[in-house]
Symmetry: D3
Subunit: 242 residues, 6 copies
């Protein structure tokens, strides 16, 4: 039996806050270890404001790194930066190998990453493909990386910005009501994307409405329930249907 | 809070044994109420042996009913027969209304039924469509049937005989190891389909192999694990990703 | 050349406001004729508040009819009620035939209706199937109904409440900014569903954000753009790619 | 407001004629700028006749280039050759970067390219993937290439040779009747593929028949209408449903 | 071992000629029995010319029946008319039961019918659904109709008028070159649809081009090869991969 | 006319036995040439037992090579090893070029390979993509490799370990009853995977049950029929529907 451990693979600094901040905060609140891997800082593709202000590439990377560190701390998670570059994030054997090493080290019991389709941002599917491949490679005893081979942790894809255009169908609705304040605080660590604070608060309300609509008869849910939506690329394993 | 209650909507007598016997036995073993509704006896479409022996329609219905009662008892479940006829099972407002009444009465917290596609047997999707419609109607306070409006219980589609031809993808793998002996005994209550006893035992082993392959690192599973596969037409609602 | 005419086929009184109020108001603002057909009042399935207040079926129908008439008037559209009953809305040849007559009479150049999938409400797909069939039948010179055979008007499916669960992908983003105030006023004609006023205002903002993100470089759009999303079951016919 | 500009990304010299000649001629006839980018000459994979005649690689490239230049001129468009090689056309960061520069330079308001699936020719999807990625990269202010960041121009996939095998569904039917003679003349600039002149004339007639069948009641179309079919990977943005 | 027998289930008189005339003529040329069942005459939906000429319903039915009889004779097939009405063709238990009886009587080794989707003509999918259901019912010994229960004959869906809009993917390309003259003669038995003679000749050429492109290296095919395309809803059973 | 020749492209040593042993044995039994290409030995990803025993990489490769040679010999096929490495198998232009040369040399009339999806093992889709691309390149006279350009041999995807998770739908059921003993002997050449011997025997029985259920009425099949399932990415070309 290993301890619970959540690994979040995020293409850019920031993605993990909007899309999975609730799940991260919930796991941290249960006292579990959470590790966020940012493959890039989102320095080219998701920092328009800083570029318009005339900042340099290095300044922007430092800026985004600082914001992401503060947000991770607010959520209660550790964070690692691989600085692999964005727009485009290149899918290479070397970067995948680095991820295998992270898997072997963090030994996740749960993995969160982007879904495999996103016509608006190719970095997201590239990150997801590498995360999924690294997870499989880390399971093979013959793969030449430190540490024991992994079990097969469940994977959850978090919600993209335009879900319907990415083939995203909510298969899991996670109740994040009790940690929503924490998620909001983490969002507020990202001042350059202030317009997204309310956008993702509204999304949490809407997913909460759907959560209540799909909840069985036995749940006594509060008037305002906040939710996050996920997909599963692998089957759920369980001892009870519910 | 209502008590846990499982409702199984089965097109023919027998379907519930092969496809959901493990889930039923697990719920019963937890001391929960399980109700099986057989829309027909499978008297025309799934009783070839009896017809070849020259039995009459009434004899066949009696025979199938008896077998199904014994199988349900072995699993620890109650059983109701609506005798709506098979091959074809006709989708009518009256039969759907009968199902609404069953929903209002049994107040299920979990619903099991057939998937919506089956090119080999049109009765299965017809049963599923009526079960799903009845579940929605039972939720409306304005629907004129006895009892309180229902919450929205989760639904699980059980595995059809030729899963790949029915668009069936295992989304939930249920560990039925601890009740597999009970399921086998229930199968043995159906002597006319003796050739299926081993067929569905093999299937349980195969789904068990997949269950182990998809289980997270923390599960200590026995060498032989038995499984059943299900699909979810509605999102899972949960407080924890696992 | 016939005059522009929009026909909206709505399962229940109310659907047309939340889902297509902007498109209706835009057409009316252009001075075009818009006809809304409500197949039912939504008296059983979408009037929970009234039932809880102990109102009778007839009172509820009158109530919903009045609200829908006021909302249609606010949008600038005509409205017709077929009173076919809801929960379930039954798909019958007779009701389809009534719709054929409406098509022949209103001679629509644009048709709006529900999408073909909705696992939360079977009345919506039933309405859509009848609307689509009636549109095809109305095109046949041999179909025995008054009036000339129809051309083949384009069809737009409006957005369901849980789009991702209904296979709904926004294929058309309609800019409704200039009539959004009118749509909001029409929503406010439906006091029993007050909780949806803000919900659908938020949705309009979100679809507006996506509209701006997908707009070509030549559009000068305001800071807050409101949008509605639609799908097309038939190809767009055009003289220019844009 | 920028001027209208159409960018066509074609895997091989020739593709743009058969598949998008009508759209190109229409834009040119409206006085708009059209730029065709041929990633390769189709020298290995689509020049069987020349190889059988014993021509050298260089001769074949010159030959195909000359034909494509004449066809582009006939249609009224500019043409650029990147000479990246075919069979296979290799997807590289460098070639994608070249395309970003073309996007920043031509500032397209409309983009045409191949669809993303083609089991008969892997160069077509490779071209499409690079075109789509370059379009996204060109929108980022942080991407290090000359010129201003782009808006988000609509994209149209043109029709592949075996549409049903490529998941191609006509979502837009473009009326090219008024420029069909021009398209035919451009086709006749490609003598090595003489067998395709009638093949693609027949296709234009067939798409024209479908165009008439899907046109609304208000179009007065000529007996013979010529059409081209397109798909949209992104939603249409519009101010009016039609 | 029963004798080869082909059963064609056609919604309207005429469908079988355009879509499956080659397959029918090939089977007849091999000396096999072919039976065409026309569920309706296409009297309302596919007889626009006759209605415009002012003919009565009875005259039109007689006319269409005569044409279809001549076309069937030209192809070498028997034909049966069930006169169930069209536009809409209603799906009823009684009509399905009539089809079961046809299946039990003709004992088909091959079944041809429409595909299950057609947004332009609801009669086609309705015919297909009834044909498929009747085929399954006819296999059950318990179904109360004359004759022995059927084996499970393979089913082929023939090509609809707008294949891409009907989810039609050619899975089988049938070489009809040797009987194409016969098919053309059968088409010429339908003078009211003269515009389709060349349309379906062009289609046969195009499917022939694709047939050659997909044929293995060992086929020596003539310059002009004519083809018909089909889909299979059930797996092919074979003793050799080819 | 070339002689029949089957080419099997397998990611790892061993895959061809479990998944296509029956098809290989049938072709060999007909006196046809069969060539198996193993892109890797499966030394890292599919040799867990050997790694746990402390064997070295070279030992493991030798071991797997020996087993695969014996299994190929048992089936009557030739075998070639490209030793490209596994976990991950890297998709490179050089490896694809090697495959083109194999295609030109073996001149296959039938090609067998993995399907294009497998969330449990990325090497399988990588092998399939390279096999499909090489098959297309080998058809081009302009491709610079020895030998004549190829025709277009049909391709069959063999069954993956978890078919439903790989989008695998059995489109062809191959009767391997007469060579099943040979397939079992070939499986027994792979002692490290002893647990799969019965697993794949059970699968053959199950596919045989489905084969009988889908066979037309004219097949007189034995009580125990063994089968293998395949998919076709390209249409079947035939002179007779059956």
């Amino acid at each position: 039996m290993t301890d619970p451990s959540t690994l979040v693979v995020s293409a850019h600094a920031g993605d993990f806050v909007w899309r999975a901040g609730g799940a991260i905060a919930l796991a941290a609140a249960r006292g579990e270890r959470v590790t966020i891997v940012c493959l890039s800082y989102g320095e080219r593709g998701e920092s328009a404001k800083a570029w318009r202000e005339g900042k340099s590439l290095d300044e922007i990377k430092r800026l985004r790194r600082g914001e992401a560190e503060r947000a991770a701390a607010a959520l209660g998670a550790g964070i690692v930066f691989l600085d692999a570059g964005d727009y485009p994030l290149r899918e290479t054997p070397e970067l995948t190998d680095e991820l295998v090493r992270v898997f072997r080290e963090t030994r996740p019991s749960v993995v969160l990453t982007h879904p495999l389709e996103d016509p608006y941002n190719g970095d997201h599917p590239a990150a997801a493909r590498m995360a999924l491949q690294a997870r499989v490679l880390a399971q093979a005893i013959g793969y030449p990386a430190e540490g024991e081979p992994l079990g097969a942790p469940p994977v959850f894809f978090f919600e993209p910005h335009q879900p319907e255009m990415c083939g995203f169908v909510p298969q899991v609705l996670l109740d994040i009501t009790e940690v929503f304040d924490t998620k909001r605080k983490a969002m507020e660590c990202l001042p350059a994307q202030r317009h997204l604070w309310d956008y993702y608060t509204d999304l949490a309300v809407r997913r909460g409405v759907q959560l209540k609509r799909n909840a069985g008869p036995n749940l006594g849910l509060p008037h305002t329930t906040y939710g996050e939506a996920y997909m599963r690329p692998y089957p759920q394993v369980t001892g009870v249907l519910a």
